[in-house]
Symmetry: C2
Subunit: 443 residues, 2 copies
């Protein structure tokens, strides 16, 4: 009962604060005595503070207003992606207090190595937050792959992970849950970007994911695996994908494919499969393979997913190693696009065309409202949106609106941390530090 | 208040009946006097009947049990599809009391003509139901196209309809709502077939639609247009589709494409576009059309959608005209498949392969539980399921289970009528005939 009432009071303060105790009693239907006791508990826990402001329309003696406090309780947003790690600390008012990112090549990595790097980054962030008096109460970790509700990463093809439990391996002194990167980036867009209640968020990274937001909630499908836009089929005779399929969107519009297409004379991308599609002069592909296609095209080297003892580049202490660059980095691509470089523009047109084809299928299947392009697609939006819209214009209904993400490149970590804040506000008693006076990091 | 209590009592009877008035009072929290009054009203309306059965465990004098009555209140399920019309009458116990179907070619039809045919069929059914004492309280109409929540058919490409309000044109003496055919067929599968709470129902007809059922409810997207599986892109360089797109699933696995593929020497299907994909020797298609593709391939005659005064074949009084048959009908195809006809088997393999590619995209995007194949795909299941599963087996997760629909070929009309029954049980007061003694058809 106390837990429910704490949530009731904190929820009202979060939604409509600052509010006096009298206003809180009216809004919640609790007695003023009960409200005062609950507000006292929330003050002790550092979740609210007294602002001294007085509300109009109150009768009797002037009340002291109560609002959310950003001084003590905080959440950790974490992200493991293919070419970077990212961390943020957010206080209870959903203000970002600290951001850290580290460029690192996590392809075909050992989960233990990657998680070790992330733990160092996370621990540094928690310690730094503690110096500001912030106690981190929980964390959510974003991973670019299929994650079930129990936190098991079934498959993250671009990391080379299968059946990994990174939350257990992280072993942080707080509850950690795991979710799909695109789902969390969509929540980041919902809370910190331009997203309305219904949109499809496209997360462009090495892989491509999507978060389907309907009525302000993420649609997850039966097992939690919905939104795998990167493996929507663009061309069934197209190049092999690391997922085991063929002609997936990632092979045309993922970061590797895109950067590689700007420098076609270089070696093929790291998994050994050329990003281009088969040319009309090629031998006709066999369309009617009744059984599973062979895992790679001729010439593929099978990816070496778990090289034991492999040293990761970009460990802490290294100079920032920069993104993996088959054809120059993303910043270089944007500069070339801005300068009107023909090959760069053509690469974006090809990627945008493929994105439009995959989105045509997505729009036909799930009828989202707006489509928000995020991740690397945000800086590339001016060059991608035209060809993407042109491919989408073939849809029978009104063409959905394309918008650029405004949540920024760390949308997933923002969404992750904000999800923890939402959980704390929904159930503050479960997230109070055991000893409210001591920051969590010192436990 | 009375409306809410009527719904409460009827809901309990529908869920757990037969029940005594005493048991109903216990379950609903209403007084026995109130329950008796409400049961009296429901008896008068013909929605419940007294069964005479006595429940164990009741104290005091033996109670007379009350159960749903199938004697008076009924619903009408209606379907307009490309090559048939279908009607069913269902009583309050969800027992089908009457089924009618009429083969008719509705391609490029005038909505007024089609609706006139359907009104005749519907009125006959309502009259026939009246002779059994059934009063039809409402109807739902299934249409193969994009329907918004207000009943406007935005687009039904295979009918050639745009912005049509068939419920208004039907002008039946009862409320009529309109919904997408595949959504209603999915509900038919949910209530009368094998569907669990989570599945993707594939409706194979001239067009191909899908109903996405999650937690026993249809997922409709933002505007109600979700589930357009037939326009998921199988090959972006494939043949033009009537939707304005290219290489849509319908062009490979819709009934016309499938039947046509069994007789490749005949004339192309009625919209003039060959069903096969471009061959490797063809001139390479231009993949980078930055603007909308021209509406048809060279040689296309633009479809003549609204020929005024066009006489429909298959009006009532005609002998059943049979399905449109570019390469023999569906029954003939099944017979040829059963006899091991090589061309028929190859046509199914090609269609199943394309279906598997589209379903791969669907599974990646929405993560359904089971995939249920219905409509013409149900009788073709033994020949389709192998190639479809093979194409699906390329997905990175567990391959979803393929199942054959068990709701039968009129799943959409069953789902439509059952939806009305559900509405009546949820709000009986709104669906009581104005004069419960007079059947609706005689008004």
């Amino acid at each position: 009962m106390r837990a429910r009432n704490l949530a009731l009071v904190l929820g009202e303060v979060a939604r409509d604060g600052p509010l006096t105790r009298a206003a809180l009693a009216e809004l919640t239907g609790l007695t003023k005595t009960t409200v005062s006791k609950l507000v006292g508990d929330l003050l002790d826990a550092g979740m609210v503070r007294e602002s001294g402001a007085v509300r109009d329309g109150e009768r009797g003696r002037p009340g002291v207003a109560v609002s959310l406090s950003g001084d003590r309780v905080a959440a950790l947003g974490l992200e493991i992606n293919v070419d970077y790690l990212s961390v943020c600390v957010m206080d209870l008012t959903r203000t970002v207090r600290l951001r850290r990112a580290q460029a690192v090549d996590n392809r075909d990595s050992l989960p233990t190595d990657v998680v070790r790097d992330l733990r160092i980054l996370a621990t540094e962030a928690v310690d730094e937050a503690a110096t500001e008096g912030l106690a981190v109460c929980g964390a959510v970790l974003a991973v670019p792959g299929a994650v079930d509700p129990g936190g098991l990463v079934h498959n993250a093809p671009n990391l080379g992970w299968r059946d990994v439990r990174p939350a257990v391996m992280l072993d942080l002194p707080m509850p950690v849950t795991v979710d799909n990167e695109a789902n969390l980036a969509a929540l980041g867009e919902l809370w910190f970007g331009s997203g309305g209640p219904d949109f499809l968020y496209v997360s462009g990274e090495i892989g491509i994911g999507a978060g389907l937001v309907f009525g302000g909630r993420v649609f997850r499908g039966t097992q939690g695996f919905a939104g795998e836009l990167g493996h929507v089929v663009v061309d069934p005779d197209g190049p092999a994908c690391r997922c085991g399929g063929r002609g997936c969107l990632e092979r045309y519009a993922g970061q590797d494919a895109l950067l590689h297409a700007t420098t076609p004379d270089e070696a093929p991308p790291p998994d050994g499969v050329p990003a281009g599609r088969h040319r009309p002069g090629d031998a006709p592909p066999d369309r009617h393979r009744p059984d599973r296609a062979q895992p790679g095209l001729p010439g593929d080297a099978p990816p070496d997913r778990h090289r034991p003892g492999r040293a990761l580049p970009g460990l802490p202490g290294d100079a920032a190693p920069g993104r993996h660059r088959p054809g120059g980095g993303l910043e270089e691509l944007v500069a070339r696009l801005a300068a009107g470089d023909g090959r760069a523009v053509a690469a974006c047109e090809q990627a945008g065309h493929a994105l439009g084809i995959a989105l045509t299928s997505a729009v036909n299947l799930v009828d989202p409202g707006t489509i928000v392009l995020g991740g690397i697609f945000a800086p590339l939006f001016p060059w991608l949106s035209g060809p993407t819209t042109a491919a989408l214009a073939r849809i029978r209904h009104v063409v959905p609106r394309l918008a650029v993400s405004t949540a920024g490149p760390d949308a997933a970590t923002l969404g992750a941390a904000a999800q923890v804040i939402g959980q704390i506000i929904a159930d503050p008693s479960a997230h109070l530090p055991r000893d409210p006076a001591a920051p969590a990091a010192s436990r």
